[in-house]
Subunit: 479 residues, 2 copies
């Protein structure tokens, strides 16, 4: 066919258009009766000149950054996390023994900036520790300046939702044993999961909540700790691998890992003795029991990557209910923060979006290590639970998250993606280039203190955090 | 374009053919350099006139058959199977108390027809019951005619692989509680799973095997039975539903259900007391512990369908290592048998297909109830284990099995198929019409007595069983 004939053919029929980018043009064409295929597209970095300049500066150092990122990935993938024991928080975190200190989720903030459930949990913890006689006194004390606040992440710890950690609470200890023989190895801590419903991590603070915490401290924690010591610890890497083949993504779904963990530890619990029936019933009644173990594991795997100069990989994501914060390997301990967003999801009967607190919790450490929303394809059932759709939607989430990650974890594979590895290592550059914000599977707390969980959904990490991180990385590269 | 022009266009280029059916024609064309797409196709019922005549007779009664099949499906789907307890076999099955009787897998057969592992297991059981001093004496006794043999299926029981059941063995009791209040309800039994490796169900019969059976009888069985009574039983329908969302197909993969079951029963085990550490370690060390529970459940669900006149739905499939047998709702207790086939699969290190025993076990009751190979899409990890391929292959198995089943189980759904229900109710007519033989996920025993498991794979139910069943159904319809 000649070119002329081709053009004639093209123009012979009705208009058929492919529109790339702004959907408005497609709508106009469609309104005129044309057949239009819409292709989503946005300019890289939202077309912002300062971000494009930072990306360019980083591109000039591509090989150094690639090597740094490779080093980070090697550390993360080499991790050998083991749940080793349970100890009182003030035995693990010296600062808790030294003063009246409350550790909380997310980046730093003061009492005045705290949202409802975080305040509620703080007040409950002050009563729990005997520092206040009741919740009213606790609120006064919290506002007085006599209580110090600090992020869990500054003390080797993480905590789900409000993430309150105080001195007498029992903490799970995960040891990353890689290189332990050569003096290496690192640890991370997380409180025990309290179960579902009205619990301190969702802002609960009444007598029932505090009684459960006391039971965890006085009975269950020591019992589990004894069993873990008898067992010589429980290796978590292989357990997660099995869990991914069993429908868990370890953030909003931990049915498999909770069950596998109980199966693994039950003989040692029996050997260690104690009031076993109640302990087993507690684990049996809580599909999210393993969540806190997974979180401590995530931190223990990512912490060795902190401070690898030049790396653009995210080492932590966390939210305090007011601000979202990320840390990046190449910028060490610095937080890049922006206001948190609202999770989109499903609400329990009697609750609605109007009741929801904004995004909160250290649990986004799971997405940072390649689980949670990044592994949604492994857990199609969770997609329904959090209102993210069905099986196809679960696959789509994982594929999108793979676009902003630099590696695959060969030890953690997803059956429905023909056993390809979970996407690992969020690259700040890719987030900015693609405009794809990391997704986070999350519980949703009531915005008022004392109520508890009202739903579950998906939240997004604000792009502004990554923009700031990119500019900081670009500045460092420019020097 | 005129017809002449169309024909010219068709013949203008090189030959491009679609070949339907016999592949030989496609090979000839391809050898001449033509582009050929091969479409598998075979004439219905293999083109056999007597089968086509039977299908035609049945087609004339379509509405009566559809109603009978609907009644069968309603019974199966309404089942409420509950694992209720553990009791000695001779307390549950009177015939075992009356004489020296050995129950075995599959349709009936005598000592002379038995394959190696089945003979091995029989001899081990005779020593275990104290009827013979050693294996040599046992073999003499078994051949003497003084021992009676009978299929598990004739006594409300099933057993995996060799499926040996004798009087002192502890049996799991599954109660189908539907209609129990109105005097309905039925029970099915299965021995306890012995673990992996050298075990009686794979033909093992040495001192180690018998010592484990004695421990199950004297210690573990009573302990588990006590716990089940304290718990008021464990409902199995919801447990299977969770297991399907967690990568189990309940035949060659029971990781999730074993773990969920332990989580559910652990509090009652602790309450009941006994040597718990060893009991927990036994369950913790055996991913297939739940298999035998699932099998008894399958039988308890299908048994109420036996004898529904006119129904063409399979109520049991089973193999004794020599013959494969099926039972059909509309033909009651009658077995339709044909020689068993060899499983195709993967072998453990040091073993090969030359070591394999032909297909054996009552466990195909799982495929008959819509699990196992029928639910392979729920368990992509099992596809690799049994050599059936990856995720896509697992989906293909389930889709093929859906072609020969009449219903979907709305309570048992498969996430990777967007939560569609498992294919339930194998229709003899569909098997013959499509030529698709039911696939069965199976363990593979060594063909010699005393060795044990050598691999796992997929076996096919022989079409000849279904042909005989169809002819019998056709005869009944013709009367």
């Amino acid at each position: 066919m000649s070119n002329g004939a081709r053009i004639d053919a093209l123009l012979a029929g009705p208009v058929r258009a492919i529109n790339i980018g702004l959907a408005g043009f497609a709508r106009d064409l469609a309104a005129c009766g044309a057949e239009v295929a819409q292709v989503d597209w946005a300019p890289p970095a939202g077309g912002k000149p300062e971000l494009l300049a930072a990306l360019e500066r980083l591109a000039a150092m591509e090989s150094a950054i690639a090597a740094a990122n490779q080093a980070v990935i090697e550390r993360v993938l080499a991790a050998e996390p083991v749940l080793a024991g349970v100890h009182r928080a003030d035995e693990l975190i010296p600062a808790l023994a030294e003063r009246r200190l409350v550790l909380h989720t997310g980046p730093p903030l003061g009492w005045r900036e705290m949202c409802g459930p975080l305040r509620g949990a703080v007040c409950g913890a002050l009563v729990f520790e005997g520092w206040a006689a009741d919740l009213t006194a606790a609120e006064r004390l919290a506002a007085s300046g006599e209580i110090a606040f600090s992020p869990n992440h500054h003390h080797g710890a993480v905590g789900p939702m409000t993430g309150i950690t105080t001195r007498s609470m029992p903490l799970l200890v995960v040891e990353n044993r890689v290189g332990l023989a050569k003096g290496g190895g690192n640890r991370a801590f997380c409180a025990l999961n309290e179960g579902l419903g009205k619990v301190m991590r969702f802002g609960g603070n009444d007598a029932e909540v505090l009684a459960r915490l006391a039971w965890l401290r006085d009975e269950f924690g020591p019992l589990l700790g004894r069993a873990l010591e008898l067992a010589g610890g429980i290796a978590l890497g292989p357990l997660i691998a099995r869990g991914l083949a069993m429908g868990d993504e370890m953030h909003q779904r931990n049915v498999a890992c909770t069950s596998l963990f109980l199966r693994a530890i039950a003989p040692s619990m029996a050997a260690g003795g104690g009031p076993l029936e109640k302990a087993f019933a507690f684990i049996a009644g809580n599909d999210q029991f393993f969540l806190n173990i997974a979180m401590a594991m995530g931190k223990s795997m990512l912490d060795p990557a902190r401070g690898v100069a030049g790396s653009t990989i995210v080492t932590a994501m966390s939210r305090n209910g007011t601000e979202f914060g990320i840390r990046v390997a190449g910028t060490g301990e610095r937080w890049f923060t922006a206001p948190v967003e609202m999770p989109q999801g499903l609400f329990f009967p009697g609750f609605s979006a109007a009741d929801a607190n904004p995004d909160i919790g250290d649990s986004a450490i799971l997405e940072a290590v390649g689980l949670g929303a990044f592994a949604m394809a492994a857990a199609p059932a969770v997609a329904g639970f959090i209102g993210a759709g069905g099986f196809a939607d679960a696959l789509a989430y994982t594929r999108a998250m793979a676009e902003i990650a630099v590696a695959r974890n060969p030890r953690w594979t997803i059956p429905a993606l023909e056993f390809s590895g979970t996407a690992t290592g969020i690259d700040v550059r890719r987030v900015i280039e693609t405009g794809i914000a990391p997704a986070i599977n999350t519980g949703i707390a009531h915005r008022r203190a004392g109520v508890g969980q009202v739903g579950a959904g998906v939240a997004r990490a604000p792009l502004a955090c990554f923009e700031q991180a990119l500019l900081a990385l670009g500045d460092a590269a420019g020097r």
